[in-house]
């Protein structure tokens, strides 16, 4: 096993693919084994001591590398270009200079799974990698090293197109890379070509230029000057073979320079909608309406983000046990007639970009019997933004039930309802109330209501519900606390909701 790491300290890799004109602005990505081999030859030729590292050693090293097509791990790269005019006095030709823009801290990995080098070859390779200055054009500064141990996963390798068996989607993009023939394969090819040439009637000059490109030495053949190959009429180097590789789709992303940079959204944890429909549901059915709203949000999230990408903070599913109440609270709000004309959704852990898209797209809530309520998004923001329109997000020292509180645990000796309320505050790491008073009834709209007047059951079956009756409470705190306060069973669906009590009430 042999693994090389190439990083590009200038952040750019310039290389024109074989057979393409520079002004086609294409980039050879990943660097072909042919190009890497030639870069190593050039480095040996220009920078190494040939007494210490003889040509035979170089040939044996590069021959081993040629014996197996390497696999690659490609970093993210963006296909970019600059343009300039040649400063020619007669005619200013426009030149495209294409390159891949790469993060200088990310490495390109080249991996030969079956390659084994001996000590001398390893020493030569290390020295070559230490001295290599660039790969591709001179602007492609490179720092290369051999990795003793690499356990990563290659993402570009020889083979045919990879297809997802389940969805039928193509997962890879084919790309042809040039790799040197092995010394043996080249020797065969060279002999066949030589004998073939002898049979053809060619001009002496033509024969001479072709023969010049078919040297006996494999190293000389791989190191031939490109201009000589082109002069002899080769469409591809005779010592090279074309290998079909598969790289990830978008491995070389096209430039997206025209795209406007998205503005960072201000942080938000609350969204409020106005509800339109006839009839509006009664406040007594808060839990029903909240369930309809949640179902609508889930449907929109599934449609907008995909079935598997519904944010846990919206669904409340798949969260850590210590994060149980950071997901969305669906809190319907009633007008002065006790009709639910607004709904406030509060996500204590915050609303991210995906959730914004879902909330922005939500327009309609449907009931089970064909009822429909249209929603109009009023605002997505911090809960303080809604203080003037929703008392439940204000700060106050005294709070009282707006909907019945259903205790979530079974009552036991020393664990009555006030104890359960206190435990909920502790678990949510909130300040406990100093006083907890039972209220037999509440009078939100002039009419006296008992807990049993409210709908107190979820439509979801099989839920354990220690409390079926419900109760109203007044909570008094030493310091003002900020809402919304929703406690107990069904608190994410508007049950156990508290509202501030003004000093004069």
């Amino acid at each position: 096993m042999l693994t090389l790491s190439l990083s590009f300290p200038g952040g750019r890799y310039h290389a024109t693919p074989w057979g393409r004109h520079v002004n086609e602005a294409d980039v050879a990505w990943p660097p072909d084994p042919w190009r890497l081999t030639r870069a190593l030859i050039a480095t040996w030729y220009r920078k190494l001591d040939h007494q210490l590292y003889p040509e035979t050693l170089l040939t044996s090293l590069l021959g081993l590398l040629a014996a197996e097509p390497p696999h690659y791990r490609l970093p993210t790269a963006v296909h970019s270009h600059t343009r300039h005019y040649m400063p020619n006095r007669q005619k200013s030709t426009l030149i495209f200079d294409a390159f891949a823009r790469i993060d200088p801290t990310e490495a390109l990995i080249v991996h030969w799974p079956g390659c084994q080098l001996n000590d001398a070859q390893t020493a030569l390779l290390d020295e070559l990698l230490n001295c290599i200055g660039y790969v591709g054009r001179a602007e492609s500064w490179v720092e290369a090293k051999r990795l003793g141990d690499w356990s990563g996963e290659p993402n570009c390798f020889p083979g045919s197109t990879q297809i997802d068996q389940e969805t039928g989607e193509i997962q890879t993009e084919p790309v042809h890379l040039y790799a040197p023939l092995t010394p043996d394969a080249y020797a065969n090819f060279q002999q066949q070509m030589q004998s073939g040439l002898a049979l053809r009637k060619l001009k002496t000059s033509e024969l001479k230029s072709i023969k010049k490109t078919l040297p006996i030495s494999w190293l000389a053949a791989v190191g031939l000057d490109t201009a000589d190959l082109q002069n002899a009429g080769w469409s591809a180097p005779p010592a090279a073979q074309k290998i079909l590789y598969q790289r990830p789709i978008q491995a070389l992303k096209s430039s997206v320079a025209s795209r406007a940079k998205p503005k960072p959204s201000p942080s938000a944890d609350t969204v409020r909608y106005a509800v339109y429909g006839k009839p509006l549901m009664r406040e007594l059915d808060t839990i029903r309406f909240a369930e309809h709203v949640r179902r609508a949000v889930m449907g929109k999230a599934k449609w907008t983000l995909g079935e598997t990408a519904i944010p846990p903070l919206l669904s409340g599913h798949g969260l850590n046990t210590d994060n149980r109440h950071c997901h969305a609270f669906f809190l319907p709000q009633a007008d002065s007639n006790g009709r639910l004309d607004h709904v406030l959704i509060h996500v204590p852990a915050g609303i991210d970009g995906d959730m914004r898209r879902v909330f922005g797209a939500l327009k309609l809530v449907k009931g089970f019997d064909g009822q429909e309520w249209r929603l109009m998004l009023e605002h997505i923001g911090q809960r303080e933004d809604f203080e003037n329109v929703s008392p439940i997000v204000q700060s106050a020292s005294v709070w009282q039930s707006r909907t019945p509180y259903l205790h979530p645990w079974h009552c036991k000796k020393d664990f009555d309802i006030p104890a359960q309320i206190r435990r909920e505050f502790r678990e949510r790491q909130l300040a406990e109330p100093t006083e907890i008073r039972l209220l037999p009834t509440i009078k939100p709209h002039g009419r006296e209501l008992r807990p049993i007047d409210f709908q107190r059951f979820r439509s979801k079956r099989g839920l354990a519900q220690p409390d079926t009756r419900g109760s109203f409470w007044q909570l008094i705190f030493a310091e003002p606390v900020t809402g919304p306060l929703a406690l107990g069973f069904g608190c994410h669906f508007g049950l156990g909701l508290f509202t501030p009590v003004k000093a004069n009430e």
Binding site: V78, T82, Y85, N130, I132, G133, E139, E143
Partner: protein, 318 residues
């Protein structure tokens, strides 16, 4: 005065990052052309990048700071380095290999009636027509006539000279890039208070114009010296030290007084970091200025420069 290069002895490359900022205000004008605009492209993490100065342009700037144009000579510290000067038919200075884009391969040097340099090169490189190019020998010949070309690369694209295969790669390369750029659009009107509706093609009349500058939180000049290549020239310790010092001088000089890239692009160095080899400190410009004459003398003493140092050719069309 000498500089300690021992820390660079085994290092394959010297990488330097210079963080830059506009000298005044926040805007700067990048390289660009009237019908092409600026070179803006995307980085791998989605931020917008801008090429402020290309590798080719930076090479020119690193050469310009070495030249004392009014006196038609190297700046004081570099006096004594070999180069080729071209004079016109009246004997006045026309150009030279430091100012010419293609250096020793300049058309004014090799394509004129005066074939002095061409003949010298042909004679000295005669045995390279067949077989592999002897880069060490080529480097020695280039050092003899145009030392500067060893640092910035050379392509002798003439088929009479080893079939056009004589090439030396860049040893020093550099570019300036800005990250996370934003466009600063502005404009104005050139007013003609005498005749606002005059013929604008002739320079009269009111002419509205627009211009696009950029702002960026990060502008960086990157420098790369290929130390392994300098050693690979095989020209001995004195030449190696001279070439490294010369490269460092060019970088220091560009950062000290060569960063007024365009009228509206005057940059200043905020922070300089040697990223490879880590811990090495870039000598100050005055230290380099003090050391280079001694290094030039040492190489000259080895007989590696042409004498006289200035090779002169006269320009006349063939």
């Amino acid at each position: 005065m000498s500089i300690d290069f021992s820390a660079l002895h085994a290092a394959p490359r010297l990488l330097i990052d210079a963080e830059l900022q506009p000298l005044q205000g926040a805007r700067f004008q990048p390289t660009g052309f009237p019908d092409l605009g600026a070179a803006v492209y995307d980085g791998p993490n989605g931020n917008r990048l801008l090429l402020v100065e290309s590798a080719q342009s930076m090479a020119n700037r690193m050469e310009t700071v070495c030249w004392d144009a009014p006196n038609d000579d190297w700046v004081d510290a570099l006096k004594g380095l070999p180069l080729i000067k071209v004079i016109d038919n009246q004997g006045k200075p026309l150009t030279n290999t430091v100012q010419e884009a293609h250096r020793l391969n300049s058309a004014y040097v090799l394509e004129g009636k005066d074939q002095t340099v061409f003949d010298k090169l042909k004679a000295e490189l005669a045995d390279m027509d067949e077989g592999a190019v002897d880069l060490k020998k080529l480097a020695a010949v280039v050092l003899r006539y145009d030392a500067n070309a060893l640092l910035h690369g050379l392509f002798l694209a003439k088929k009479e000279l080893a079939g056009g295969r004589l090439r030396l790669p860049r040893v020093v390369s550099s570019f300036i890039e800005a990250e996370d750029v934003n466009l600063a659009q502005s404009g104005g009107v050139k007013n003609d208070h005498v005749n606002p509706s005059g013929d604008t093609a002739k320079g009269f009349g009111n002419v509205p114009y627009s211009r696009s500058d950029y702002t960026a939180p990060k502008i960086t000049a990157y420098f790369n010296i290929d130390l392994a290549q300098i050693r690979g020239f095989g020209l001995g310790n004195a030449v190696e030290q001279l070439l490294i010092a010369l490269a460092l001088y060019k970088i220091r000089a560009v950062l000290d007084f060569g960063l007024r890239l365009r009228t509206a692009c005057d940059l200043d160095v905020k922070k300089l970091t040697v990223t490879r080899p880590t811990g090495w400190e870039l000598p100050e410009r005055n230290t380099l200025e003090a050391a280079i004459p001694g290094l030039i003398a040492a190489v000259a003493a080895e007989g590696r420069f042409a004498e006289p140092r200035v090779t002169q050719v006269s320009w006349g069309k063939k």
